[in-house]
């Protein structure tokens, strides 16, 4: 005896009720539960669908689907960071690297113009502006995500895990918070920064940080459709 389309829809609903939000994770669990139920029916055709489902669900242990979701999220985060790294590396290739060098030179000159006792404060303010800009993008992205989830519920369009990670920027934006405190922690509040080589290192770090924010907030969300098509066969099938 095979499961009907209605049974499968019920299984998707069941996984969703057990905190599996994303379609790609749900799909695998639904197939697993369906196989288990069908196997039970082979031995006992009179067994009800609901009872067979409970037997299969119990096999996942006391945590239910939590371990599966956690490991899948970890794996997908890893894939997301790999995407960031690929784009990050691409900025060091010719001719993009010229823009990086020019930008670093601009930041370096800017810091040199500021009088020495105020340099550290200027750097902290600069980082704060960057982090705040990042947060503005993050809030916008979270709002977009909320609307996307609401719309998808209406049109019954599934949400994929990678799609969600991209919209949340994989929490990369939070790295910036620690970066804001870094100049004060290293040099001490109110100290004077005069060494050209240290100013150059700070300029490079600042530019790299800007590149990172640009990738997670602009590049990756802009190309999400392409990444999702590459990652998920089911996404391709649903979005042709």
């Amino acid at each position: 005896m095979k499961l009907t389309k209605r049974h499968i829809d019920h299984l998707y609903h069941f996984t969703s009720k057990h905190y599996v939000e994303h379609f790609d994770v749900q799909t695998e669990l639904v197939d697993h539960l369906a196989n288990g139920i069908e196997l039970q029916w082979q031995g006992n055709p009179n067994l009800s669908f609901e009872n067979a489902l409970q037997v299969e669900f119990k096999k996942f242990g006391v945590c239910g689907f939590a371990d599966v979701v956690a490991e899948k999220t970890k794996a997908m985060n890893k894939r997301y960071y790999k995407l960031i790294w690929i784009f990050f590396k691409s900025y060091f290739s010719w001719p993009k690297v010229i823009v990086l060098i020019l930008f670093t030179a601009l930041v370096f000159s800017g810091l040199n113009i500021i009088s020495a006792p105020y340099r550290i404060d200027a750097i902290v303010i600069c980082y704060m502006i960057l982090v705040l800009t990042g947060f503005v993008f993050l809030i916008k992205s979270m709002r977009r995500r909320k609307t996307m989830i609401a719309n998808n519920k209406v049109v019954k369009k599934p949400i994929f895990l990678l799609e969600d990670i991209i919209s949340k920027t994989g929490n990369v934006g939070f790295i910036g918070i620690s970066l804001v405190q870094l100049p004060n922690l290293i040099f001490g509040h109110g100290s004077t920064l005069t060494s050209s080589s240290i100013i150059l290192v700070i300029s490079i770090i600042t530019v790299l940080f800007i590149v990172l924010l640009y990738i997670v907030h602009i590049v990756l969300p802009g190309r999400a459709h392409e990444f999702l098509s590459n990652e998920y066969e089911e996404y391709r099938l649903l979005n042709v």
Binding site: K2, K5, E28, A34, K59
Partner: protein
């Protein structure tokens, strides 16, 4: 084809109990890789059933352990996935990547060496010189 995995599982069963043993958990990834080495592709449920069948029900891979392991191996680039519509649902198949094939060989030899050492330690051959 499955002689090696039968051997590994049989040996493990001699020294460990079923299910939750840490020893068993430590070998789960190698078991998955070995099973996939012998076939073109497999899906999650098929893997659990295959292990049960090979060990005649002596050993069962729990669902809560299998999928996290599969996702971890996929993230490490050792497994590739393929989707197919079967009956009324979508099925996710796993297969070894090129680096997965190489890693299977490494992990199997590591596991075999571990088993050999454990056997030596647990069943030392005494001799009078």
């Amino acid at each position: 084809m499955h002689k090696k995995i039968m051997y590994i599982l049989a040996l493990r069963n001699q020294s460990i109990a079923m299910g939750n043993s840490k020893l068993y958990k430590g070998s789960l990834n190698t078991i998955i890789l070995k099973l996939l080495e012998g076939t073109d592709k497999m899906y999650g449920y098929e893997i659990t059933q295959k292990v049960k069948e090979l060990t005649k029900g002596e050993l069962t891979i729990t669902e809560g352990a299998l999928y996290p392991a599969l996702h971890k191996l996929e993230a490490e680039g050792l497994l590739d996935v393929e989707m197919a519509k079967v009956d009324n649902r979508v099925r996710k198949y796993y297969k070894l990547t090129e680096s997965g094939e190489k890693e299977t060989v490494n992990r199997l030899s590591e596991l075999e060496e571990y088993i050999r050492n454990m056997e030596t330690l647990l069943n030392p051959k005494w001799s009078i010189e």
